[in-house]
């Protein structure tokens, strides 16, 4: 069991009993702001309420960073007790852009900079086998910093045994990082924590049906880059990409068109052929799994479209989608094995 704790919070009229017992190492808590997520995390830490008593080192990224205002950034790292970590410090600092901030006193950092320093501190404190508690780790980060930070967290997940509770109001971030996602909801002052759900289910509840592709950039020309996903080549926007970069990309099922024949000359740059593997009715739609050889894609069609095209398992189909439908979610640092994300 990765997690076996009972967090009880009764504070300021706010009540919650959260029994966290799961094999999953990375647990996401999804909830709107103002639900007392910070109180919940600090109860888990033992900073308030009954003492939970997490064993081992605990790294905490609070919403307000909690840096020592009179220390420089470098002092924050020089003065902490750092257990062994599979990642070098440079591998942690570089994606977070901390190298040029090292000499700066903490009181002169912007809010976003302070949170990046606090995230690095939490990662170093937790080490390979500790606990990480992250309060909105991607908040206040610009696009490039966000995809690189997600890549760092995925590398941490792949290369260490650290266990993590991460709180966010964005299901897509949690789905990318976590093994299970729990939904925090409010009824008056009573807070309740939903049952652990798979990342896919958590996304589906938000109405998001996203395919994830792990690919390596093999060519960049102008505003388009070529991505190798398995044996297939996919054209994606070149923003933030260089040749050799590896990333996790998202492709919404809604953005994929399906035909029975090659559509000929169309504006969509991506045209792939495959066979229907599964047909699963889900509400007003049918979820269609297509085997493209190198990987699977799923797309959503109406019942009438499925009937009209006479789609059955084994039927050959053509899929096509626009360059801009493929979004970069996380830019991976070197050393993350393919099977781990």
């Amino acid at each position: 069991m990765s997690w076996a704790v009972d967090v009880r919070l009764e504070q300021g009229g706010l009540a919650l009993d959260w029994r966290l017992a799961t094999q999953a190492r990375w647990v996401g808590v999804l909830g709107a702001s103002g639900l007392g997520k910070t109180s919940l995390l600090e109860a888990l830490l033992g900073w308030r309420g009954a003492h939970v008593g997490l064993a081992g080192p605990v790294g905490y990224l609070p919403q307000d960073a909690l840096l020592m205002p009179h220390w420089t950034v470098a002092e924050h790292f020089a003065r902490l007790a750092a257990p062994p970590l599979a990642l070098d410090r440079a591998e942690v600092f570089e994606p977070l852009g901390l190298t040029e901030l090292m000499a700066r006193p903490a009181r002169r950092l912007s809010g976003g900079e302070a949170r990046r320093v606090a995230l690095a501190r939490a990662i170093l404190v937790a080490g390979n086998a500790g606990t990480l508690i992250l309060d909105e780790p991607l908040e206040a980060l610009d696009r490039l910093r966000r995809v690189r930070t997600l890549g760092l967290l995925l590398a941490l997940k792949a290369r260490t045994d650290v266990r993590v509770v991460v709180v966010s109001h964005r299901a897509d971030e949690l789905a990318l990082l976590c093994d299970v996602v729990q939904h925090l909801t409010a009824t008056g002052d009573q807070r309740s924590m939903g049952a652990p759900a798979t990342p896919e289910l958590a996304l589906a509840r938000e109405g998001i049906h996203e395919n994830r592709l792990l690919g390596e950039v093999v060519d960049v020309a102008g505003d388009a880059a070529t991505l190798r996903v398995g044996a297939a080549a996919i054209i994606v926007p070149s923003q933030d990409l260089v040749v050799g970069a590896r990333g996790v990309f998202g492709l919404r099922g809604d953005d994929v068109l399906l035909g029975l024949a090659d559509p000929g000359r169309v504006s969509a740059r991506n045209k792939l052929t495959g066979t229907v593997r599964t047909l699963r009715p889900s509400g007003t739609y049918v979820e269609l799994g297509v085997d493209l050889g190198a990987f699977d894609l799923s797309t959503h069609l109406t019942h009438s479209a499925v009937a009209d095209l006479e789609l059955k398992p084994g039927a050959p189909v053509h899929l096509f989608f626009k360059t801009r439908s493929v979004r970069l979610l996380a830019l991976l640092p070197p050393g993350v094995p393919d099977g781990s994300v």
């Binding site: 609070p62 307000d64 020592m68 205002p69 009179h70 003065r79 902490l80 007790a81 404190v125």
Partner: protein, 214 residues
């Protein structure tokens, strides 16, 4: 000028007695919850709310042969004057120190603990540096308070020329003797000292309350 020199000496020694207990009590009251906390807080503030003469009498009783007789030999010396001034400055130092410590976010201290600093290191590297301005301000105000002490001092230290005749006692004596010029001169001198201390303290404590904020 003799009176000013004596006053400065007495106030310095008073600060030497009162600073550590004052800062310690301030920390205790800001950071610890214990049984009888209100009582301790009340006792610390007592010299502020009873007449200074009564505090002087209390000290006289503790030290002198008529009471407990802890140290009758120090009565009517500069040491007695500094003790009296120290006791009168203590509540101010403790209260100001308490405010300075309370202005440091306790979550910062928890964070410092959680990244591996020991209790002593947290106090030395986090709490004290962040409270430093407020603490120095507390000491400056305590010094100013000791400099102007009269009621308790005159009871335990009397008015011994060249030994315990501080600025405050000197003014009193000059008035008694009808020396208006002398009284005015000493009064202006004390006003200058007090003003200097007040300006220094205000500069140091400005922005207190943001000690823990980023």
């Amino acid at each position: 000028m003799d009176a000013l020199w004596i006053s400065l000496q007495v106030a310095t020694w008073a600060l030497a007695w009162a600073s550590l207990p004052g800062i310690g009590l301030g920390w205790l009251l800001a950071r610890r919850r214990f049984v009888g906390r209100e009582l301790v807080e009340g006792l610390v503030q007592l010299p502020l709310v009873v007449p200074a003469v009564a505090v002087g009498y209390g000290l006289l009783w503790l030290l002198g042969g008529q009471g407990l007789g802890l140290a009758p030999e120090v009565l009517f010396t500069r040491t007695a004057a500094s003790l009296a001034s120290g006791v009168m400055a203590l509540p101010l130092i403790a209260r100001m120190a308490q405010l300075a410590f309370e202005a440091v976010d306790p979550r910062l201290e928890r964070m410092a603990r959680s990244v591996g600093l020991g209790r002593g290191q947290v106090l030395w590297r986090v709490t004290l540096p962040l409270a430093a301005r407020g603490l120095v301000g507390a000491l400056v105000l305590g010094f100013a308070r000791a400099l102007g002490e009269f009621g308790a001092t005159i009871v335990v230290a009397g008015l011994v020329p060249g030994e315990t005749r501080t600025l405050a006692l000197g003014i009193f004596e000059e008035i008694q003797l009808g020396h208006q010029d002398g009284a005015l001169r000493l009064a202006l001198l004390s006003a200058a000292c007090g003003l200097t201390a007040a300006v220094v303290a205000s500069r140091l404590t400005r922005g207190l309350g943001h000690g823990g904020a980023r």
